[in-house]
Amino acid sequence: MADREYFDSLPPFESEAQTELSRRDFITGTSLAITSVVATGAALSPLLNAREVPTKDELLQKHYKQLTTEDKKTIFARLETEVKNDYGADVKIRDPQPLDGVEYAYILNIGRCIGCRKCVYACMKENNTSRDPQIQYIRVLKLNQGSVDLETSSHDYPENEAADPNYYYMPVQCHQCRKPPCIKVCPVKATWMEKDGVVVVDHNWCIGCRYCEAACPYHARRFNFSKTTIAPEDINPDMGYLSNRIRPLGTMEKCTFCLHRTREGKYPACHDACPTGARKFGNLRDPESEVRKILERERVYVLKQEIGTLPRFYYVFAK
Protein backbone atom coordinates (compact mmCIF):
# COMPACT_ATOMS: atom_id res chain seq x y z
CA MET A 1 0.00 0.00 0.00
CA ALA A 2 2.73 2.35 0.81
CA ASP A 3 4.14 1.57 -2.61
CA ARG A 4 0.86 2.58 -4.24
CA GLU A 5 0.85 5.88 -2.42
CA TYR A 6 4.46 6.40 -3.33
CA PHE A 7 3.84 5.82 -7.01
CA ASP A 8 0.71 8.00 -6.98
CA SER A 9 2.62 10.88 -5.51
CA LEU A 10 5.19 10.88 -8.31
CA PRO A 11 4.62 13.31 -11.19
CA PRO A 12 3.15 11.65 -14.27
CA PHE A 13 5.44 9.95 -16.84
CA GLU A 14 6.63 12.19 -19.61
CA SER A 15 5.54 9.56 -22.09
CA GLU A 16 1.91 10.09 -21.18
CA ALA A 17 2.05 13.74 -22.10
CA GLN A 18 3.90 12.90 -25.29
CA THR A 19 1.40 10.40 -26.64
CA GLU A 20 -0.74 13.40 -27.46
CA LEU A 21 0.27 14.56 -30.92
CA SER A 22 -0.26 18.25 -31.45
CA ARG A 23 -1.27 19.58 -34.86
CA ARG A 24 1.96 21.45 -35.16
CA ASP A 25 3.98 18.34 -34.61
CA PHE A 26 1.87 16.35 -37.04
CA ILE A 27 2.32 18.92 -39.80
CA THR A 28 6.04 19.30 -39.32
CA GLY A 29 6.55 15.55 -39.15
CA THR A 30 4.56 14.87 -42.30
CA SER A 31 6.17 17.62 -44.32
CA LEU A 32 9.61 16.42 -43.25
CA ALA A 33 8.78 12.89 -44.26
CA ILE A 34 7.40 13.97 -47.62
CA THR A 35 10.32 16.24 -48.48
CA SER A 36 12.89 13.63 -47.52
CA VAL A 37 11.18 11.01 -49.65
CA VAL A 38 10.99 13.45 -52.56
CA ALA A 39 14.65 14.38 -52.19
CA THR A 40 15.70 10.74 -52.17
CA GLY A 41 13.59 10.05 -55.23
CA ALA A 42 15.07 12.99 -57.10
CA ALA A 43 18.58 11.95 -56.18
CA LEU A 44 18.01 8.45 -57.47
CA SER A 45 16.24 9.61 -60.64
CA PRO A 46 19.25 9.06 -62.97
CA LEU A 47 18.63 5.35 -62.54
CA LEU A 48 15.44 5.84 -64.52
CA ASN A 49 17.64 6.29 -67.55
CA ALA A 50 17.57 2.63 -68.43
CA ARG A 51 20.52 2.73 -70.79
CA GLU A 52 22.96 3.13 -67.93
CA VAL A 53 21.74 -0.05 -66.28
CA PRO A 54 23.11 -3.04 -68.18
CA THR A 55 21.01 -5.97 -69.29
CA LYS A 56 21.74 -9.44 -67.99
CA ASP A 57 23.43 -10.51 -71.22
CA GLU A 58 25.59 -7.45 -71.24
CA LEU A 59 26.57 -7.97 -67.64
CA LEU A 60 27.50 -11.60 -68.15
CA GLN A 61 29.33 -11.13 -71.44
CA LYS A 62 32.83 -12.55 -71.33
CA HIS A 63 36.02 -10.87 -72.46
CA TYR A 64 36.49 -10.84 -76.24
CA LYS A 65 39.38 -13.28 -76.07
CA GLN A 66 37.18 -15.87 -74.40
CA LEU A 67 34.27 -15.65 -76.80
CA THR A 68 33.43 -18.60 -79.01
CA THR A 69 32.02 -18.16 -82.52
CA GLU A 70 28.46 -18.84 -81.29
CA ASP A 71 28.87 -16.33 -78.48
CA LYS A 72 30.00 -13.77 -81.02
CA LYS A 73 26.97 -14.42 -83.22
CA THR A 74 24.52 -13.87 -80.38
CA ILE A 75 26.41 -10.86 -79.11
CA PHE A 76 26.60 -9.21 -82.52
CA ALA A 77 22.89 -9.84 -83.08
CA ARG A 78 22.12 -8.23 -79.74
CA LEU A 79 24.32 -5.23 -80.52
CA GLU A 80 22.74 -4.81 -83.94
CA THR A 81 19.29 -4.73 -82.31
CA GLU A 82 20.52 -2.18 -79.80
CA VAL A 83 21.76 0.09 -82.56
CA LYS A 84 18.45 -0.31 -84.38
CA ASN A 85 16.51 0.62 -81.25
CA ASP A 86 18.71 3.51 -80.24
CA TYR A 87 19.46 5.06 -83.63
CA GLY A 88 17.09 3.52 -86.13
CA ALA A 89 19.79 2.28 -88.49
CA ASP A 90 20.32 -1.24 -89.82
CA VAL A 91 23.90 -2.28 -89.35
CA LYS A 92 26.00 -5.39 -89.73
CA ILE A 93 28.66 -6.19 -87.15
CA ARG A 94 31.36 -8.67 -88.00
CA ASP A 95 34.74 -9.62 -86.67
CA PRO A 96 37.57 -9.78 -89.24
CA GLN A 97 40.56 -11.69 -87.96
CA PRO A 98 44.16 -10.46 -88.26
CA LEU A 99 45.98 -11.57 -91.38
CA ASP A 100 49.08 -13.73 -91.06
CA GLY A 101 52.47 -12.25 -91.65
CA VAL A 102 51.16 -8.72 -91.56
CA GLU A 103 52.30 -5.83 -89.42
CA TYR A 104 50.74 -2.54 -90.33
CA ALA A 105 52.68 0.68 -90.61
CA TYR A 106 51.48 4.16 -91.39
CA ILE A 107 53.59 6.88 -92.91
CA LEU A 108 52.66 10.50 -93.03
CA ASN A 109 54.47 12.85 -95.38
CA ILE A 110 54.71 16.15 -93.56
CA GLY A 111 56.03 17.74 -96.72
CA ARG A 112 52.68 17.23 -98.36
CA CYS A 113 50.11 17.67 -95.61
CA ILE A 114 48.20 20.91 -96.08
CA GLY A 115 46.13 20.63 -92.90
CA CYS A 116 42.79 20.37 -94.66
CA ARG A 117 41.46 17.93 -92.02
CA LYS A 118 39.68 15.76 -94.56
CA CYS A 119 41.24 12.75 -92.87
CA VAL A 120 39.63 13.78 -89.59
CA TYR A 121 36.14 13.90 -91.05
CA ALA A 122 36.57 10.80 -93.19
CA CYS A 123 37.57 9.01 -89.99
CA MET A 124 34.50 10.30 -88.17
CA LYS A 125 32.28 9.13 -91.01
CA GLU A 126 33.89 5.71 -91.23
CA ASN A 127 34.15 5.01 -87.52
CA ASN A 128 30.75 6.28 -86.31
CA THR A 129 32.21 8.56 -83.67
CA SER A 130 29.94 10.85 -81.72
CA ARG A 131 29.07 14.13 -83.43
CA ASP A 132 27.85 15.94 -80.34
CA PRO A 133 29.95 15.99 -78.15
CA GLN A 134 32.37 15.75 -81.01
CA ILE A 135 34.92 12.95 -80.89
CA GLN A 136 37.72 12.98 -83.42
CA TYR A 137 40.50 10.43 -83.43
CA ILE A 138 42.89 12.47 -85.54
CA ARG A 139 44.24 15.77 -84.33
CA VAL A 140 46.05 17.97 -86.84
CA LEU A 141 48.75 20.13 -85.32
CA LYS A 142 49.93 23.30 -86.96
CA LEU A 143 53.60 23.87 -86.18
CA ASN A 144 56.09 26.60 -86.92
CA GLN A 145 58.60 25.81 -89.61
CA GLY A 146 62.08 25.06 -88.38
CA SER A 147 61.54 22.55 -85.60
CA VAL A 148 59.09 20.14 -84.12
CA ASP A 149 58.04 22.29 -81.18
CA LEU A 150 54.76 20.88 -79.98
CA GLU A 151 54.32 23.40 -77.20
CA THR A 152 53.85 26.29 -79.59
CA SER A 153 51.67 24.27 -81.93
CA SER A 154 48.02 24.84 -82.49
CA HIS A 155 45.39 22.15 -82.89
CA ASP A 156 42.28 24.22 -83.31
CA TYR A 157 43.32 26.53 -86.12
CA PRO A 158 40.33 27.68 -88.18
CA GLU A 159 39.78 26.83 -91.84
CA ASN A 160 41.29 30.02 -93.16
CA GLU A 161 44.60 29.20 -91.48
CA ALA A 162 45.08 25.88 -93.24
CA ALA A 163 47.38 25.38 -96.24
CA ASP A 164 49.64 28.13 -94.99
CA PRO A 165 53.15 27.73 -96.45
CA ASN A 166 54.75 29.43 -93.45
CA TYR A 167 53.72 26.55 -91.20
CA TYR A 168 53.58 22.81 -91.53
CA TYR A 169 50.86 20.41 -90.48
CA MET A 170 51.21 17.17 -88.59
CA PRO A 171 48.20 14.96 -87.93
CA VAL A 172 48.38 12.80 -84.82
CA GLN A 173 46.30 9.70 -84.19
CA CYS A 174 46.84 6.43 -82.38
CA HIS A 175 50.31 5.26 -83.29
CA GLN A 176 49.60 1.58 -82.53
CA CYS A 177 52.86 1.46 -80.61
CA ARG A 178 54.96 -1.66 -80.29
CA LYS A 179 55.35 -0.94 -76.58
CA PRO A 180 52.09 0.81 -75.79
CA PRO A 181 51.82 2.39 -72.34
CA CYS A 182 48.03 2.28 -72.61
CA ILE A 183 47.71 -1.49 -72.47
CA LYS A 184 50.09 -1.73 -69.55
CA VAL A 185 47.93 0.45 -67.32
CA CYS A 186 44.52 -1.01 -68.10
CA PRO A 187 43.32 -2.52 -64.82
CA VAL A 188 40.96 -4.98 -66.49
CA LYS A 189 42.92 -5.75 -69.68
CA ALA A 190 40.15 -4.41 -71.85
CA THR A 191 42.72 -3.17 -74.34
CA TRP A 192 45.50 -5.19 -75.92
CA MET A 193 47.69 -5.38 -78.98
CA GLU A 194 46.61 -7.76 -81.72
CA LYS A 195 48.83 -9.96 -83.86
CA ASP A 196 48.94 -7.46 -86.70
CA GLY A 197 49.96 -4.64 -84.42
CA VAL A 198 46.67 -2.85 -83.95
CA VAL A 199 45.84 -1.91 -80.34
CA VAL A 200 42.15 -2.61 -79.78
CA VAL A 201 39.55 -2.09 -77.06
CA ASP A 202 36.77 -4.47 -76.06
CA HIS A 203 34.11 -1.86 -75.35
CA ASN A 204 31.89 -4.23 -73.41
CA TRP A 205 34.75 -5.02 -71.03
CA CYS A 206 36.07 -1.48 -70.63
CA ILE A 207 35.13 0.11 -67.31
CA GLY A 208 35.87 3.67 -68.37
CA CYS A 209 38.54 4.51 -65.81
CA ARG A 210 40.54 6.46 -68.46
CA TYR A 211 43.95 5.27 -67.24
CA CYS A 212 44.83 4.53 -70.85
CA GLU A 213 43.96 8.07 -71.85
CA ALA A 214 46.25 9.36 -69.12
CA ALA A 215 49.04 7.01 -70.10
CA CYS A 216 49.03 7.73 -73.81
CA PRO A 217 51.82 10.19 -74.68
CA TYR A 218 50.05 11.22 -77.89
CA HIS A 219 46.58 11.75 -76.40
CA ALA A 220 45.16 9.30 -78.89
CA ARG A 221 42.43 7.90 -76.69
CA ARG A 222 38.96 9.37 -76.45
CA PHE A 223 36.34 8.86 -73.78
CA ASN A 224 32.58 8.76 -74.29
CA PHE A 225 31.32 11.21 -71.72
CA SER A 226 27.83 10.98 -73.18
CA LYS A 227 25.92 8.60 -75.33
CA THR A 228 27.08 8.75 -78.94
CA THR A 229 25.00 11.23 -80.90
CA ILE A 230 24.88 10.44 -84.59
CA ALA A 231 22.23 10.80 -87.26
CA PRO A 232 20.97 7.47 -88.65
CA GLU A 233 21.80 8.43 -92.24
CA ASP A 234 25.35 9.20 -91.22
CA ILE A 235 26.00 5.81 -89.64
CA ASN A 236 28.40 3.55 -91.50
CA PRO A 237 26.57 0.21 -91.46
CA ASP A 238 29.64 -1.90 -92.12
CA MET A 239 30.91 -2.36 -88.57
CA GLY A 240 33.65 -4.36 -86.99
CA TYR A 241 33.24 -5.44 -83.38
CA LEU A 242 36.62 -4.10 -82.32
CA SER A 243 36.78 -1.10 -84.56
CA ASN A 244 33.85 1.01 -85.61
CA ARG A 245 30.71 -0.12 -83.82
CA ILE A 246 28.79 2.54 -81.94
CA ARG A 247 30.56 2.68 -78.63
CA PRO A 248 28.57 2.44 -75.38
CA LEU A 249 28.51 5.29 -72.91
CA GLY A 250 31.46 5.37 -70.57
CA THR A 251 34.02 3.50 -72.67
CA MET A 252 37.24 4.43 -74.40
CA GLU A 253 37.75 4.55 -78.13
CA LYS A 254 40.54 5.33 -80.55
CA CYS A 255 41.87 4.86 -84.03
CA THR A 256 42.20 1.20 -84.98
CA PHE A 257 43.70 1.72 -88.46
CA CYS A 258 40.14 0.89 -89.68
CA LEU A 259 40.75 -2.78 -89.06
CA HIS A 260 37.37 -3.70 -90.54
CA ARG A 261 38.79 -2.37 -93.82
CA THR A 262 42.50 -3.11 -93.56
CA ARG A 263 42.07 -6.72 -92.54
CA GLU A 264 40.24 -7.16 -95.84
CA GLY A 265 42.98 -5.51 -97.82
CA LYS A 266 41.61 -1.99 -98.15
CA TYR A 267 43.24 1.21 -97.03
CA PRO A 268 42.02 3.11 -93.97
CA ALA A 269 39.48 5.86 -94.55
CA CYS A 270 41.90 8.66 -93.70
CA HIS A 271 44.38 7.36 -96.27
CA ASP A 272 41.86 7.52 -99.08
CA ALA A 273 40.52 10.92 -98.13
CA CYS A 274 43.85 12.72 -98.20
CA PRO A 275 43.85 14.88 -101.36
CA THR A 276 47.62 15.35 -101.56
CA GLY A 277 48.66 11.77 -100.98
CA ALA A 278 50.45 12.55 -97.73
CA ARG A 279 49.35 9.30 -96.12
CA LYS A 280 50.86 5.90 -96.89
CA PHE A 281 49.87 2.61 -95.39
CA GLY A 282 50.96 -0.97 -95.82
CA ASN A 283 52.44 -4.14 -94.50
CA LEU A 284 55.85 -3.68 -92.96
CA ARG A 285 56.73 -7.34 -93.40
CA ASP A 286 56.36 -7.18 -97.17
CA PRO A 287 59.58 -5.91 -98.78
CA GLU A 288 57.67 -4.74 -101.87
CA SER A 289 55.21 -2.54 -100.00
CA GLU A 290 55.46 1.21 -100.28
CA VAL A 291 55.92 1.64 -96.55
CA ARG A 292 59.10 -0.43 -96.61
CA LYS A 293 60.44 1.46 -99.57
CA ILE A 294 59.65 4.83 -98.07
CA LEU A 295 61.22 4.00 -94.73
CA GLU A 296 64.36 2.79 -96.47
CA ARG A 297 64.78 5.95 -98.50
CA GLU A 298 63.29 8.96 -96.78
CA ARG A 299 64.11 11.06 -93.75
CA VAL A 300 61.95 9.55 -91.02
CA TYR A 301 60.84 11.20 -87.80
CA VAL A 302 59.20 9.47 -84.85
CA LEU A 303 57.10 11.58 -82.51
CA LYS A 304 58.31 11.55 -78.90
CA GLN A 305 60.92 9.00 -79.73
CA GLU A 306 62.63 9.45 -76.37
CA ILE A 307 59.71 7.85 -74.56
CA GLY A 308 60.39 4.53 -76.25
CA THR A 309 56.92 3.59 -77.37
CA LEU A 310 58.24 2.43 -80.77
CA PRO A 311 55.21 3.59 -82.70
CA ARG A 312 54.11 2.14 -85.99
CA PHE A 313 53.29 5.61 -87.26
CA TYR A 314 56.17 7.42 -88.95
CA TYR A 315 56.50 10.95 -90.23
CA VAL A 316 58.65 11.60 -93.26
CA PHE A 317 59.90 14.80 -94.79
CA ALA A 318 59.55 14.02 -98.47
CA LYS A 319 58.49 15.74 -101.63
Binding site: T35, A122, D132, P275, K280, G282
Partner: protein
Protein backbone atom coordinates in the same frame (compact mmCIF):
# COMPACT_ATOMS: atom_id res chain seq x y z
CA UNK B 1 5.73 23.11 -25.44
CA UNK B 2 3.28 25.75 -24.28
CA UNK B 3 5.84 27.92 -22.59
CA UNK B 4 7.36 31.24 -23.72
CA UNK B 5 10.46 29.59 -25.21
CA UNK B 6 11.28 29.63 -28.93
CA UNK B 7 8.71 27.68 -30.98
CA UNK B 8 9.42 23.98 -30.99
CA UNK B 9 11.53 22.63 -33.86
CA UNK B 10 12.46 26.19 -34.81
CA UNK B 11 15.25 24.90 -36.97
CA UNK B 12 12.61 23.57 -39.39
CA UNK B 13 12.28 27.08 -40.76
CA UNK B 14 15.68 26.60 -42.33
CA UNK B 15 15.73 22.86 -42.84
CA UNK B 16 12.47 22.50 -44.78
CA UNK B 17 13.20 25.22 -47.36
CA UNK B 18 16.70 23.81 -47.78
CA UNK B 19 15.33 20.34 -48.49
CA UNK B 20 12.75 21.79 -50.87
CA UNK B 21 15.43 23.75 -52.71
CA UNK B 22 17.66 20.70 -52.94
CA UNK B 23 14.90 18.52 -54.37
CA UNK B 24 13.90 21.23 -56.82
CA UNK B 25 17.48 21.46 -57.97
CA UNK B 26 17.66 17.71 -58.47
CA UNK B 27 14.34 17.64 -60.30
CA UNK B 28 15.52 20.43 -62.55
CA UNK B 29 18.58 18.40 -63.46
CA UNK B 30 16.44 15.38 -64.24
CA UNK B 31 14.06 17.40 -66.37
CA UNK B 32 16.98 18.79 -68.34
CA UNK B 33 18.44 15.41 -69.21
CA UNK B 34 15.08 14.01 -70.20
CA UNK B 35 14.56 16.63 -72.93
CA UNK B 36 14.90 15.24 -76.46
CA UNK B 37 18.43 15.66 -77.88
CA UNK B 38 18.67 17.71 -81.00
CA UNK B 39 19.30 15.82 -84.21
CA UNK B 40 23.04 15.98 -85.04
CA UNK B 41 24.01 17.44 -88.37
CA UNK B 42 25.39 15.20 -91.08
CA UNK B 43 29.03 15.60 -92.00
CA UNK B 44 29.26 17.48 -95.27
CA UNK B 45 30.04 14.89 -97.95
CA UNK B 46 32.77 16.98 -99.51
CA UNK B 47 34.85 16.53 -96.36
CA UNK B 48 35.23 12.81 -96.85
CA UNK B 49 35.01 12.50 -100.60
CA UNK B 50 37.95 10.64 -102.09
CA UNK B 51 39.50 13.05 -104.56
CA UNK B 52 42.84 14.61 -105.42
CA UNK B 53 44.07 18.13 -104.92
CA UNK B 54 42.92 18.97 -108.43
CA UNK B 55 39.74 16.94 -108.17
CA UNK B 56 37.26 19.74 -107.96
CA UNK B 57 38.61 21.71 -110.92
CA UNK B 58 39.07 18.61 -113.07
CA UNK B 59 35.42 17.76 -112.75
CA UNK B 60 34.45 20.92 -114.59
CA UNK B 61 36.88 20.54 -117.46
CA UNK B 62 35.59 18.78 -120.53
CA UNK B 63 38.41 19.41 -122.99
CA UNK B 64 41.23 18.05 -120.82
CA UNK B 65 42.64 15.03 -122.59
CA UNK B 66 40.29 15.57 -125.52
CA UNK B 67 42.63 17.57 -127.74
CA UNK B 68 41.58 15.50 -130.76
CA UNK B 69 38.20 17.27 -130.75
CA UNK B 70 39.90 20.13 -132.58
CA UNK B 71 43.29 18.74 -133.45
CA UNK B 72 42.08 15.66 -135.31
CA UNK B 73 42.11 18.03 -138.25
CA UNK B 74 45.20 19.77 -139.46
CA UNK B 75 45.90 23.00 -137.61
CA UNK B 76 48.65 25.37 -138.74
CA UNK B 77 51.98 25.21 -136.94
CA UNK B 78 52.68 28.57 -135.30
CA UNK B 79 55.73 30.66 -136.07
CA UNK B 80 58.75 30.58 -133.79
CA UNK B 81 58.01 33.93 -132.16
CA UNK B 82 54.50 32.82 -131.27
CA UNK B 83 55.23 29.51 -129.63
CA UNK B 84 54.78 30.96 -126.15
CA UNK B 85 51.57 32.84 -126.82
CA UNK B 86 48.39 30.80 -126.35
CA UNK B 87 45.84 31.64 -128.99
CA UNK B 88 42.25 30.91 -130.00
CA UNK B 89 40.75 28.22 -127.79
CA UNK B 90 43.74 28.36 -125.49
CA UNK B 91 43.79 32.08 -124.95
CA UNK B 92 42.58 31.74 -121.39
CA UNK B 93 45.50 29.57 -120.30
CA UNK B 94 48.19 31.20 -118.20
CA UNK B 95 51.36 29.20 -118.00
CA UNK B 96 52.83 29.46 -114.53
CA UNK B 97 55.10 26.45 -114.58
CA UNK B 98 58.26 28.01 -113.22
CA UNK B 99 60.96 28.39 -115.81
CA UNK B 100 59.00 26.44 -118.35
CA UNK B 101 57.30 29.15 -120.40
CA UNK B 102 57.07 27.64 -123.86
CA UNK B 103 54.01 25.59 -124.77
CA UNK B 104 55.89 23.36 -127.20
CA UNK B 105 58.33 22.20 -124.58
CA UNK B 106 55.59 19.77 -123.62
CA UNK B 107 53.16 19.70 -126.53
CA UNK B 108 54.22 18.14 -129.85
CA UNK B 109 54.34 20.97 -132.34
CA UNK B 110 53.63 18.80 -135.35
CA UNK B 111 50.84 16.81 -133.70
CA UNK B 112 49.05 18.66 -130.96
CA UNK B 113 47.24 15.48 -129.89
CA UNK B 114 50.39 14.26 -128.22
CA UNK B 115 53.07 15.40 -125.92
CA UNK B 116 56.73 15.44 -126.97
CA UNK B 117 59.62 13.41 -125.59
CA UNK B 118 63.27 14.43 -125.33
CA UNK B 119 64.10 13.07 -128.76
CA UNK B 120 61.09 14.65 -130.46
CA UNK B 121 58.96 11.52 -130.55
CA UNK B 122 55.36 11.43 -129.40
CA UNK B 123 54.08 10.66 -125.92
CA UNK B 124 50.43 9.71 -125.72
CA UNK B 125 48.19 12.01 -123.71
CA UNK B 126 47.19 9.07 -121.56
CA UNK B 127 50.76 8.89 -120.21
CA UNK B 128 51.52 12.32 -118.82
CA UNK B 129 53.97 10.81 -116.33
CA UNK B 130 56.45 10.08 -119.09
CA UNK B 131 56.34 13.71 -120.06
CA UNK B 132 56.74 15.04 -116.54
CA UNK B 133 59.57 12.59 -115.94
CA UNK B 134 61.66 14.45 -118.52
CA UNK B 135 62.38 17.16 -115.98
CA UNK B 136 61.03 15.75 -112.73
CA UNK B 137 62.81 12.43 -112.94
CA UNK B 138 63.45 12.02 -109.24
CA UNK B 139 59.83 12.73 -108.40
CA UNK B 140 58.85 10.22 -111.09
CA UNK B 141 60.94 7.57 -109.38
CA UNK B 142 59.32 8.43 -106.07
CA UNK B 143 55.91 8.22 -107.72
CA UNK B 144 56.66 4.77 -109.04
CA UNK B 145 57.71 3.63 -105.56
CA UNK B 146 54.68 5.19 -103.94
CA UNK B 147 56.45 7.85 -101.92
CA UNK B 148 55.02 10.67 -103.97
CA UNK B 149 51.47 10.99 -105.09
CA UNK B 150 48.31 9.17 -104.22
CA UNK B 151 47.06 5.71 -104.84
CA UNK B 152 44.04 3.91 -103.44
CA UNK B 153 42.55 0.43 -103.60
CA UNK B 154 44.15 -2.49 -101.82
CA UNK B 155 47.33 -2.12 -99.83
CA UNK B 156 48.58 -5.38 -101.23
CA UNK B 157 47.82 -5.15 -104.92
CA UNK B 158 47.88 -8.64 -106.37
CA UNK B 159 45.86 -8.39 -109.53
CA UNK B 160 44.72 -5.82 -112.03
CA UNK B 161 42.26 -3.36 -110.64
CA UNK B 162 43.55 -3.68 -107.07
CA UNK B 163 45.39 -0.42 -107.18
CA UNK B 164 44.25 2.86 -108.65
CA UNK B 165 47.26 5.11 -109.10
CA UNK B 166 46.63 8.77 -109.75
CA UNK B 167 48.85 10.12 -112.49
CA UNK B 168 50.58 13.49 -112.40
CA UNK B 169 47.90 15.60 -114.01
CA UNK B 170 45.18 14.22 -111.78
CA UNK B 171 46.69 16.16 -108.88
CA UNK B 172 48.71 18.91 -110.55
CA UNK B 173 47.35 21.27 -113.14
CA UNK B 174 50.23 21.28 -115.65
CA UNK B 175 49.74 24.94 -116.55
CA UNK B 176 49.64 26.04 -112.90
CA UNK B 177 50.94 23.19 -110.75
CA UNK B 178 50.80 24.90 -107.36
CA UNK B 179 48.06 23.33 -105.24
CA UNK B 180 45.02 25.47 -104.78
CA UNK B 181 42.95 22.94 -102.90
CA UNK B 182 40.29 24.69 -100.88
CA UNK B 183 38.06 22.07 -99.34
CA UNK B 184 39.18 22.77 -95.79
CA UNK B 185 37.20 21.07 -93.05
CA UNK B 186 36.29 22.92 -89.86
CA UNK B 187 38.27 22.95 -86.64
CA UNK B 188 37.29 20.66 -83.76
CA UNK B 189 34.35 21.77 -81.65
CA UNK B 190 34.94 21.96 -77.94
CA UNK B 191 32.61 23.25 -75.25
CA UNK B 192 33.85 26.76 -74.48
CA UNK B 193 34.38 26.02 -70.81
CA UNK B 194 37.25 23.66 -71.68
CA UNK B 195 39.14 26.25 -73.64
CA UNK B 196 41.47 28.35 -71.57
CA UNK B 197 41.95 31.57 -73.46
CA UNK B 198 43.54 33.80 -70.90
CA UNK B 199 45.79 33.60 -67.90
CA UNK B 200 43.79 33.35 -64.76
CA UNK B 201 46.14 35.28 -62.50
CA UNK B 202 47.85 37.59 -64.91
CA UNK B 203 51.24 37.24 -66.59
CA UNK B 204 53.97 35.83 -64.39
CA UNK B 205 56.97 36.49 -66.55
CA UNK B 206 58.43 35.93 -69.99
CA UNK B 207 57.52 32.27 -69.88
CA UNK B 208 53.84 33.05 -69.38
CA UNK B 209 53.35 32.81 -73.10
CA UNK B 210 53.78 29.09 -72.67
CA UNK B 211 52.90 28.52 -69.03
CA UNK B 212 50.01 29.34 -66.80
CA UNK B 213 51.64 29.44 -63.35
CA UNK B 214 53.41 26.07 -63.34
CA UNK B 215 51.30 24.18 -65.85
CA UNK B 216 51.92 24.22 -69.57
CA UNK B 217 49.16 25.98 -71.43
CA UNK B 218 46.87 23.29 -72.70
CA UNK B 219 43.49 23.29 -74.33
CA UNK B 220 41.41 20.26 -75.16
Amino acid sequence: MMTHEKPALWWLFFFVPAILALSLFLFYHTLQSKSAPKEPKLINAKFYKVETARGQTLENKSIVGNCHLCHAYWVAIPKTNQTSIPRFAHAGIQLKHGENGRCYNCHQITDRNNYVADDGSDIMVQLPEKLCARCHGLIYKDWQLGTHGKWTGMWQAQKNGDRKTYTCTQCHDPHDPKFKYNTIAPAPVWPPKYIRTKLEHGPVGPASQYLIEDEPKEIF
